[in-house]
């Protein structure tokens, strides 16, 4: 995905930061163990957030040490591989592959060459992941096809294309059978998906216009966009996410999740809206040689 969903380091307690990093590293390791060396290259903060959400609330944080994928000479604390982390790894691979495919098709032959190549390399991993998560695989394919259709129609709406992407993310949480929790999780992921899609559209506004591509923000508000209106609707989605999150139990992961919702997302949103995001998005929350 896009890496918009990250915590604000300064406001995290040390132990919560450790938990976050161990989840990130644990997810990386789960991807490597299940899918080989290539898959962890696509690991990002958004998937880490998904892994935090999918971990069972009652599960305690007991890190173990494992070798880092980026630098095998060092060992790092990592979350132990558990079914929640494995599910997050599977879904990350499915989503990554479909997004690469999508990108390859969108960008035409030459510019899309890298994405096509990566999609080919990732295909065996994708096949395995799709077998493990057939329903999610189907959902992602359907939603991206639907999104494609809407984009081809050049639909002048924010909500409709965002809805399609939001449904995709909503499907990422397995049902627990507990009605209230499932509903809250669905609302949270729906608005997370909506927020990510709209923020990405805002982020790509200039580039899409230059390339003559469809952009929902331009289609709705004109080529200049409307920062005020975007801020309002993004804020509102975040508020609905927070409201839903407050109704769920996340155990020891709550402080990190709360930090991401109340500090990380607003700051990233502000950076995208004022245009400073491009310079900082590739910076890491931590350096590798720790």
């Amino acid at each position: 995905m896009f890496g918009y969903v990250r915590p604000l380091r300064e406001e995290l307690k040390c132990r919560d930061f450790d938990l976050y990093r161990a989840t990130y590293c644990g997810l990386c390791r789960a991807m490597r163990r299940r899918y080989g060396w290539l898959a962890p290259m696509f690991l990002n903060y958004d998937f880490t957030f998904l892994a935090l959400l999918l971990a069972p609330a009652e599960e305690r944080f007991t890190p173990c040490r494992g070798r880092c994928h980026a630098n095998p000479l060092i060992k790092k604390p990592m979350c132990q591989t558990d079914p929640g982390l494995e599910t997050a790894a599977d879904k990350s691979v499915v989503l990554t592959w479909w997004q690469l495919r999508d990108k390859a098709e969108d960008e035409g032959f030459l510019p899309g060459l890298t994405a096509r190549l990566l999609a080919i390399l990732l295909k065996p991993s994708y096949r395995k992941a799709a077998r493990r998560q057939p329903e999610f695989d189907r959902l992602v394919r359907e939603c991206l096809e639907q999104l494609h259709r809407l984009e081809e129609e050049k639909i002048p709406s924010l909500d409709r294309p965002a809805h399609t992407f939001a449904l995709l993310l909503q499907g990422a949480a397995p049902k627990t059978g507990e009605e209230g929790r499932d509903r809250a999780m669905e609302q949270m992921l729906y608005h997370l998906g909506r927020w990510i899609y709209l923020l990405d559209a805002q982020d790509d506004l200039e580039e899409d216009l230059a390339q003559g591509r469809y952009n929902p923000v331009a289609a709705r508000f004109g080529p200049e966009g409307d920062g005020e209106a975007m801020k309002r609707t993004l804020d509102h989605s975040r508020n609905l996410m927070c409201g839903a999150a407050q109704l769920m139990e996340f155990g020891c992961r709550w402080p990190v999740i709360e930090n991401i919702l109340y500090f990380g997302l607003p700051l990233v949103q502000r950076a995208v809206l004022d245009g400073s995001w491009k310079q900082i998005k590739n910076q890491r929350i931590w350096r590798h040689h720790t």
Binding site: E10, D159, R232, G243, Y262, F263, G264, S276
Partner: protein, 204 residues
């Protein structure tokens, strides 16, 4: 019933003050005002009830089995309890179709409500308000806003429409931890760039 102390997230030997503080914070979190028109309003109401009961139980225990009394959010919460779940309240409605649409929205049948609404030939303020409400329930916040806007334009005197629009304009209501000020607002003292450094930089 769960242990009232764990509901409030305090230890059984917490002082009365601590319990009151924990209770107030939770009551603020699950307050119906934070879940107006939210499809999850019923869950918040349940939580609120649980918290109220836990607080009362502790009060009873501590006063030696006497009556609860003391500080209560209960009264204000019950007076709000319609706000979250009901579009129907205060509205007899001139048009019986609109009344049906409202009850379908409350029941969660959004597609049915939309179909029914599409069949109404005359589009007045209420029509747009209900369209907006359907969009809102779906999470289509931009379309909800557009429809509420039209509703207010057509019927500027209607408080229900104006409240709905005002809620959209402030980006919805939400509980903010870290005191009343809210997470982000407290960061406004530093420049954006500084904050972004906090966001991404640093190492250990």
């Amino acid at each position: 019933m769960r242990d009232p102390y764990s509901v409030l997230g305090v230890s059984p030997d917490a002082s009365d003050q601590e319990i009151k503080k924990a209770y107030r914070e939770l009551a603020r979190k699950y307050h119906p005002d934070n879940y107006v028109n939210n499809p999850l309003a019923d869950l918040a109401e349940e939580k609120m009830k649980e918290v109220n009961e836990a607080y009362e139980a502790i009060q009873r225990q501590r006063s030696g089995g006497g009556s609860g009394g003391g500080y209560q959010y209960q009264s204000s919460s019950s007076s709000y309890s319609n706000a979250g779940s009901g579009y129907q309240q205060s509205y007899g409605g001139a048009n019986p179709t609109f009344a049906r649409v409202r009850s379908m929205i409350n029941g969660g049948d959004l597609n049915g409500a939309e179909r029914l609404l599409q069949e109404v030939p005359q589009k007045n303020g209420e029509w747009y308000f209900l369209m907006g409400s359907i969009a809102y329930r779906r999470g289509w916040l931009d379309e909800a806003m557009q429809n509420y806007n039209l509703a207010v334009q057509m019927d500027p005197g209607n408080m229900e429409y104006r409240q709905a629009l005002a809620m959209m304009q402030q980006g919805g209501a939400v509980y903010r931890p870290y005191g009343g000020g809210g997470g982000m607002d407290s960061l406004d003292c530093c420049t954006t760039m500084l904050c972004l450094n906090c966001l991404c930089g640093g190492c250990n």
